[in-house]
Structure formats: structure tokens, C-alpha cells
């Protein structure tokens, strides 16, 4: 069976990641630490389970009235003085951002961490327009220096160790001394970025929760760079996926607790930043303009299917990454797309189409760890299974996932039809099983069998079939 292109690329990425001893050591200790911290914070499993159910309920309630809440958010934000923009695609969102920058003659953009901006490839886009877009979250700053993309949605530079970062800083930052002391590396970054915060023209950020009831944008962070980007420059642009909206202000405290606890095991982050308007009359600081860009980029397609809609419950805590046996061995880059790990595996094929990213749904052992730790109870395994089915469903697609049936082959379809016939016809099954007992040892190792036995010893076929053994023991066919 011919491999589709996405599968071939992914297999190459996997082989490369697994062969990278340094990467695997970096990941192993980091992921173990993050899981441990989360476990410690949520040690009371009964209380955690209750909180999780509450989180799930809040997110599902928000999604169940998404169009109304988005309209309410727009109306409240507008009343507060925040300018709201809608973008169907990443390209549209980029154009909106560029338009705002151009109007202000901005050439230096300072950015807080935002996965949506990664999804838009905003930095690359702005660079092409001659605008400097500087990442200011320490992890993002590190990988931007190295021309990389985030490998984790919470700790983007987790694939690097301090020696690698020490070399990077020394080589790429003018006059930076070589040091492997983490505190000194932080100080170097602080020094470099402080000047940027002071002089940046426009700040760009993501949004963790957008409260429809009050028109408030909430941002979660530890470093203070997010506050800098949203407070110091004269213009702030916030980017959000359209699923980020919540109904009420009182929905925020439980979600915040679930987010910070699941992400890093913290009861709360250093800063929780709630922005409701641009600078008001008489106020001495804060941006004069705040813009909110609401991005679809495939989300409304996911929303249309009630079973797939659960994907949009995600609050981007990254716990599913930290607990995934695949992610913790590969890291994020091997997935080849912006969102890695279990959430990436269910989200990306739906955003970009199975034909482009369907292989991500195969990056799972179905162990269900992601589902167990998910703070909003996304049914990962159900969605993964559905996506795998959809990849082969040419005509009989139930969920109409974009690109469904891209892996359909006549040979495989025929094989499954034969399998069904074999198993529903007792005579055929009996003869077939007996044949396998006698001649199974001599099956030619071709196609999938060749692939499967490349690193495995084929088990011998039993001389007698299960049916025969059962009959010998006097078991009735009907029982």
C-alpha cells in the first residue's frame, strides 16, 4: 500500500526525534517534572474531579451559545472602546493586523505569547512587510533567536537545555557573555527586552478567556512581558480563536484555577491581567487603542458537528502534552504543525483537513492519559477514533471532516469486505482458520506483514483453532 505524503513526512520526523538523544533527555526530565507538579496541586482527586466537571460544564455552556456570546462580546467590547475585527482565515487576520500597524506607522511590534499568532504565522508575515515582530516571553524569545517554532504550547523552548541556550545567546546576542547559569541567561534576556518594551510601537497578545458579560480580555502569565505588551505601547492588538469566549465573569475563577494548575501545577500565575478598555479619559498609561481580532480559520467547521465541537472546549493548558507517551518521546516539532501532542492530533486535522494533517491522528496509543488529565474533559480517544475512520471514509463519511477518505484505497476496502465476509460465514471461517493453522507459517512477508515483521518476530500460528479447542472442551457454540 502506498504511503500518503503526510505519513512519509511524519515517519521521517519520528525517526529523527527518536534518534536525538539530547532531545529525549531534555524532554524526559521536563515532562516528568510538570506532571509531578500538577499531581501535587490536584492531590485531592475527588475535589479535582468536581472542579473538572465544572470546567467542562462552563466550556460546554459557552460553546452551546457561541454565536450569541460572540455577538455579546463584540457589543460589550465596542461599548468599552475596544475595536473588534472578525477574520475568516489566518490571511485575513494578518491583513487586519498589518492594516492597524500601517495606520500607526509602526515598525516595531512587541509580542506576548500567543498560539493563535503562531497559527497565523504572523511573525513571518510581518517580517516580509519589513516590520520587526519580537517575541518577549523568554521561551518564545529563545526559539525566535534560533529561527525555530514552539515545541510546546506552554513552555515553547522545553526541547532545549541550558547549554544549548547558553551557546545561542552568546552567538546571537551582541556582547552577551557565555554563561550556563540560568539566572544570568534570564538577566541577559531582561536587559535586551527592557529597551524593546520601552520603545515598542504596538503590543500584540493572545487571549486566554474573553468574558462576554463584561467585554473583558483575560491574560495569564508569569513573566510580566504580557503586561508590558498590553500596557506600555500606545496600541494593543489581542488575537483570539473564536472559541475562547466564556459567558460570565464568574466563569473565570474555576477556569483560571484549572488552567494554571493543569499547565504548571501553580495555584495561580504571577499575573492575571484583565483588560476591559483602552486608556480612559484622565488615565496616565495604557494603550489609546485596543483591538480584538476574532479568528475562525476552520473553527466554525469543527463547531458544526456536535461531536467534534468538544475539540473547541480546550483551554490550552498543555497537560495532554505532558502526559502523552508519544509527545514525551518526540517533542513538538516532529508533529510538523503548530499545535502538537494530543490536542494537536485532534485539532489540526480538523482545522487543516485530513489530507494535510490526518497523520497526526495516528500519533496515539489510545492509552487515554490525555483524557484523564484534561481539565475540561475533552473526549480525546473518541475524536481520534473518529478522525482515523474519516481518513478512510470516502463515501460513507458521517462527520464530513475536510479531506475525509484521503487514505481510501481499493485494495484496503476490498480486504475489509473480505474480512467481513469471512467472519460472517461460518464455513468460510472454519476453512480459513484451518488453512492458517497449517500454512500460516509460510505466509509471504509482503506489504503490511513485511512492515510489521521488520522489527518483530511473527508469532507462530497455533496448530488448532480456538473453535476446535473450545469444541474439544465441550463448550457449546451458543454459549
Amino acid at each position: 500500500m502506498a504511503k500518503t505524503e503526510d505519513v512519509a513526512i511524519f515517519e521521517r520526523n519520528v525517526a529523527k526525534a527518536l534518534g536525538d538523544g539530547q532531545l529525549r533527555r531534555n524532554l524526559r526530565s521536563a515532562m516528568a517534572t510538570m506532571s509531578q507538579r500538577r499531581r501535587t496541586l490536584f492531590a485531592d482527586t475527588e475535589a479535582f474531579e468536581q472542579l473538572r466537571t465544572l470546567g467542562q460544564s462552563i466550556r460546554r455552556r459557552a460553546l452551546s451559545q457561541l454565536p450569541e456570546l460572540l455577538e455579546q462580546l463584540e457589543q460589550r467590547c465596542t461599548a468599552n472602546g475596544i475595536q473588534v475585527h472578525w477574520a475568516e482565515t489566518a490571511a485575513e487576520a494578518n491583513a487586519i493586523v498589518l492594516d492597524i500597524l500601517r495606520r500607526h506607522g509602526a515598525t516595531r511590534v512587541i509580542k506576548g505569547k500567543s498560539m493563535v499568532s503562531e497559527e497565523m504565522h504572523l511573525n513571518h508575515f510581518l517580517e516580509e512587510q519589513g516590520i520587526e515582530a519580537l517575541e518577549t516571553d523568554l521561551g518564545e524569545y529563545i526559539i525566535q533567536l534560533d529561527g525555530e517554532t514552539p515545541s510546546h504550547i506552554i513552555v515553547p523552548a522545553i526541547h532545549k537545555n541550558k547549554d544549548q541556550i547558553a551557546h545561542l545567546f552568546h552567538e546571537r546576542i551582541p556582547d552577551a557573555p557565555y554563561t550556563e547559569v540560568v539566572e544570568e541567561l534570564n538577566a541577559i534576556a531582561r536587559g535586551e527586552l527592557r529597551e524593546k518594551f520601552r520603545t515598542g510601537d504596538v503590543g500584540v497578545s493572545g487571549v486566554n478567556f474573553a468574558v462576554a458579560e463584561t467585554g473583558t480580555l483575560c491574560l495569564v502569565e508569569n513573566e510580566g512581558n504580557g503586561r508590558m505588551c498590553t500596557t506600555a505601547p500606545p496600541v494593543h492588538i489581542a488575537l483570539m480563536g473564536l472559541e475562547k469566549v466564556v459567558e460570565k465573569l464568574q466563569d473565570v475563577p474555576p477556569l483560571l484555577r484549572l488552567l494554571t494548575g493543569s499547565a504548571t501545577g501553580q495555584p495561580i500565575t504571577t499575573y492575571f491581567n484583565m483588560i476591559t478598555s483602552p486608556r480612559r479619559s484622565g488615565e496616565l498609561d495604557g494603550p489609546h487603542e485596543v483591538h480584538l481580532v476574532i479568528l475562525d480559520n476552520g473553527r466554525s467547521g469543527i463547531y458544526a458537528d456536535p461531536e467534534r465541537r468538544t475539540t473547541l472546549q480546550c483551554i490550552r493548558c498543555g497537560a495532554c502534552l505532558n502526559h502523552c507517551p508519544i509527545y514525551t518521546r518526540l517533542g513538538g516539532h516532529a508533529y510538523g504543525h503548530v499545535y502538537p501532542g494530543p490536542i494537536g492530533s485532534i485539532l489540526t486535522p480538523q482545522l487543516k483537513g485530513l489530507d494535510e494533517a490526518g497523520v497526526m491522528a495516528t500519533a496515539s496509543t489510545f492509552c487515554g492519559a490525555c483524557e484523564e488529565v484534561c481539565p475540561v474533559k475533552i473526549p480525546f480517544t473518541e475524536i481520534l477514533r473518529m478522525l482515523r475512520n474519516e481518513a478512510y471514509a470516502r463515501d460513507e463519511s458521517e462527520h464530513e471532516v475536510q479531506g475525509h477518505g484521503y487514505r481510501y484505497t481499493t485494495v484496503e476496502a476490498l480486504s475489509w469486505k473480505s474480512w467481513a465476509l469471512y467472519n460472517t460465514s461460518p464455513a468460510l471461517a472454519r476453512i480459513g482458520a484451518q488453512m492458517l493453522s497449517k500454512f500460516g507459517q509460510h505466509l509471504p512477508m509482503i506489504g503490511p506483514l513485511k512492515e510489521w515483521t521488520r522489527v518483530r518476530t511473527p508469532p507462530p500460528f497455533a496448530p488448532k483453532t480456538l473453535h476446535e479447542l473450545a469444541q474439544q472442551r465441550g463448550l457449546d457454540d451458543d454459549r
Binding site: 517534572t33 468536581q50 467542562q56 460544564s57 462552563i58 460546554r60 455552556r61 452551546s64 457561541l66 454565536p67 468599552n80 475585527h85 472578525w86 475568516e88 485575513e92 491583513a95 487586519i96 492594516d99 516571553d137 523568554l138 513552555v155 523552548a157 522545553i158 541550558k162 540560568v182 531582561r190 527586552l193 527592557r194 518594551f197 458579560e213 463584561t214 467585554g215 473583558t216 508569569n222 513573566e223 510580566g224 503586561r227 500596557t231 506600555a232 465573569l249 473565570v252 475563577p253 474555576p254 483560571l256 495555584p267 495561580i268 504571577t270 499575573y271 492575571f272 476591559t276 488615565e283 496616565l284 498609561d285 495604557g286 476574532i294 475562525d296 466554525s300 456536535p306 461531536e307 458521517e398
Partner: protein
């Protein structure tokens, strides 16, 4: 602009009736929040903030200025940024004396004083309350007390009335009537000095925001 119809297109896609399946909302469990006594709230807040490397002093209301002065005298600070039009500002002005770092008022728009905001060593603000459960101060910047005061100086000193410590975030929103009075431009929860763990998960303090947070809890 090419996005003229984006809003309508997105909303109409979201409004389309699904052809199959149902989307249900599970019932939300009622979770009893913390219910600590006044003393326990102070104690828990102090512990949680200290874990996050804040320095916390619980002092009698008439003694805190003395403690502040002692703290400031031990450091070579180029100035203390303060908000003159607040009650706290008036108290500081009345009590200021020789040997302390100069009081620097924040009275001009940031556009006129950006340089000094980014170079001053310390800033002092009031707080609107605090959350015992997670350990966090509630800051409610205003016309009189701007946003950057708690961000650009390396040392942030926050003054908190013990009466304003709530059990939980939800309780603070409720009891302080955030909804009823309308949200201000910016509300902040702050649980310590700025920090990062982006390099090998090694926790270090003082990244882009303050390197130190000192909290005076006034009894």
C-alpha cells in the same frame, strides 16, 4: 476591506443547525469555597505569597510606615514611585523625611515620563483586596494610580488592608460587586515578583516585571 463579510459569514456558519448528533451541557456541580476565619485568611495569604517569593509583613496599621522606612533605608534606591492623589500618597507625603529615597510622583502621561518609569528602582501602590486561597493581590489601577507603577520598577511595594482579604477569587468578585460597578480599564491579580521557568523549568524570579514584591498587610 476584504473582511467586510467575515463577521456575517462566521456567525451564519456557527448558527447552522447540525444535521445529526446532540450537544449537551452537563450540570455544573456546586463547589463549596474556602471559608476561613479572618486570622486564617491572613495566614494563608501570607504563606501562599511567600511560597512565590514575595516578602510579607503583617503589621499594625500605625506601625507600618516605620517598617517601610526601615526597609527603604537598607537599600540604595534612586526613588520611590508613588501616586500622590491617593490616600496612600497623602500618608507617604506627610511622613517622608531625610535619608529616604526621594518620593517620585506619577502625574504625567506615560508619553512624557517613559524614560524615568523604566529606570526608577521602586514603586508603591495600594491594593483593592487579596485572595487567600491562591495567594494573590487584587490591583485596581485608576486615574490616580496608573498601571505601570506595579510593573516597571524592580521593587514593587503593595499595601493591603487585612479586612480586604477574601477566601476566593469568586468571593472577591461577588462581595466587591465587580459586575455591578462595572469593570475598570484594567484589573490585576498579582501573586509574587515576576518569574519564569522557561529554561529547563528552573524557576527564577525577576524577569520582565518586578524582581521583588513586598507586601504590607495592615492589621
Amino acid at each position: 476591506m476584504m473582511t467586510a463579510n467575515a463577521r456575517e459569514n462566521i456567525l451564519s456558519r456557527l448558527r447552522a443547525i447540525p444535521t445529526h448528533g446532540r450537544y449537551t451541557v452537563p450540570e455544573a456541580p456546586v463547589i463549596a469555597g474556602l471559608a476561613l476565619s479572618r486570622e486564617e485568611r491572613i495566614d494563608r495569604l501570607r504563606r501562599m505569597l511567600e511560597v512565590m517569593h514575595a516578602e510579607v509583613q503583617v503589621v499594625a496599621a500605625r506601625e507600618w510606615l516605620g517598617e517601610l522606612k526601615t526597609l527603604l533605608r537598607t537599600r540604595a534606591l534612586n526613588g520611590l514611585l508613588y501616586a500622590p492623589a491617593t490616600p496612600l500618597g497623602a500618608v507617604l507625603e506627610a511622613a517622608w523625611e531625610e535619608g529616604l529615597p526621594p518620593l517620585v510622583p506619577y502625574v504625567e502621561p506615560v508619553e512624557q515620563c517613559r524614560e524615568s518609569l523604566f529606570t526608577i528602582d521602586a514603586g508603591i501602590t495600594s491594593t483593592r483586596g487579596a485572595i487567600a486561597e491562591t495567594g494573590a493581590l487584587i490591583l485596581w489601577p485608576s486615574v490616580a494610580e496608573p498601571r505601570l507603577m506595579s510593573l516597571t520598577p524592580g521593587l514593587h511595594i503593595a499595601v493591603l488592608e487585612a479586612e480586604a482579604i477574601f477566601n476566593t477569587f469568586a468571593e472577591a468578585i461577588d462581595r466587591q460587586g465587580w459586575l455591578e460597578q462595572g469593570m475598570p480599564t484594567n484589573v490585576l491579580l498579582i501573586s509574587g515578583p515576576s518569574k519564569t521557568a522557561d529554561i529547563e523549568l528552573t524557576l527564577t524570579f525577576g524577569v520582565h516585571g518586578p524582581k521583588e514584591l513586598v507586601v504590607f498587610i495592615l492589621q
